[in-house]
């Protein structure tokens, strides 16, 4: 038997808006995190491939900071949905893959004194390496934005 209560229609509408707002906020938190990680990853690869030697050497710290921040914040994200969670796993796997490819490019193809043409390739590699993170951020932003 359903329980009776004195919930007014106005209060019910407010609760619906509040409850649905929490789902949207969860999406936005995911989007903010992935956007920040995309910016950091792109900066890391640009500095690693194009920066002067002292900056290039210290860019590794940016990568370490990125990994530590990700490891700290990702488990604390309050993810509501199964698809949302699965998408995050897929994007993490894709990001690891593109990062490995970028690292191989840096180790075996990238010259010590790159010409301007190599700079174009470096920018492309930096963008591709970080692209999965941007993809995830845009997906998460688009969902609440359309509502």
């Amino acid at each position: 038997m359903p329980e009776r209560n004195d919930l007014s229609a106005e209060a019910a509408l407010r609760e619906v808006n509040r409850a649905q707002g929490t789902v949207q906020q969860s999406s936005r938190r995911v989007a903010h995190l992935y956007l920040a990680m995309w910016l950091a990853a792109t900066a890391f690869w640009l500095l690693t491939l194009l920066g002067p030697p002292p900056i290039r050497d210290n860019a590794t710290w940016l990568l370490i900071a990125l990994i530590v921040a990700g490891a700290f914040y990702v488990p604390r994200l309050r993810v509501y949905g199964r698809q949302q969670l699965q998408r995050s796993y897929s994007v993490t796997a894709a990001f690891v893959g593109t990062s490995v490819l970028a690292a191989l490019y840096n180790m075996f193809l990238h010259p010590q004194e790159p010409s301007p043409l190599w700079a174009v390739a470096d920018v492309l590699v930096a963008l591709i390496a970080a692209a999965p993170l941007l993809y995830r951020a845009l997906h998460a932003y688009r969902a609440p934005g359309e509502r």
Binding site: P2, E3, R4, N5, L7, A9, E10, A12, L13, E15, V16, N17, A19, Q20, T22, V23, Q24, S26, S27, R78, V79, Y80, G81, R82, Q83, Q84, L85, R87, H139, A140, R142, A143, P144, E146, R147
Partner: protein, 111 residues
């Protein structure tokens, strides 16, 4: 002529169950823990309300492992989605609020 409030689905029109239905209407699936944290109720109370919704055929409960952790996922059935949309239509009729698009499609489907 009867007042539109008589058309409110009493299974949905209860504080905890309304919150559950509203969140499920905004996403394809929602994890039990997320619901518990956002609605701020105990595991047992939430389970009780979910059982009521499940018995009514409004909610589908699925248990699965993510890694080694067991998780419980909830989603609206087609019947549940129709019931919630009907409930919202009655609410808006009572309050005179125009139809809002936000319950039309879940976030996960839009993604």
């Amino acid at each position: 002529m009867s007042h539109p409030r008589h058309g409110l689905d009493e299974i949905i029109h209860a504080p905890v169950r309304l919150s559950i239905m509203a969140m499920l209407a905004a996403a394809d699936t929602v994890e039990f823990r997320f619901l518990k944290d956002e609605i701020e109720v105990s595991d047992s109370l939430l389970s009780k309300h979910i059982q009521t919704l499940e018995k009514a055929g409004y909610v589908l409960v699925e248990k699965a492992f993510v890694g080694k952790r067991p998780r419980t996922w909830l989603s609206l059935t087609d019947e549940g989605r129709d019931a919630f949309q009907g409930y919202m239509a009655v609410l808006r009729q009572i309050t005179g609020e125009p139809r809002a698009p936000e319950v039309a499609a879940p976030l996960d489907r839009q993604e």
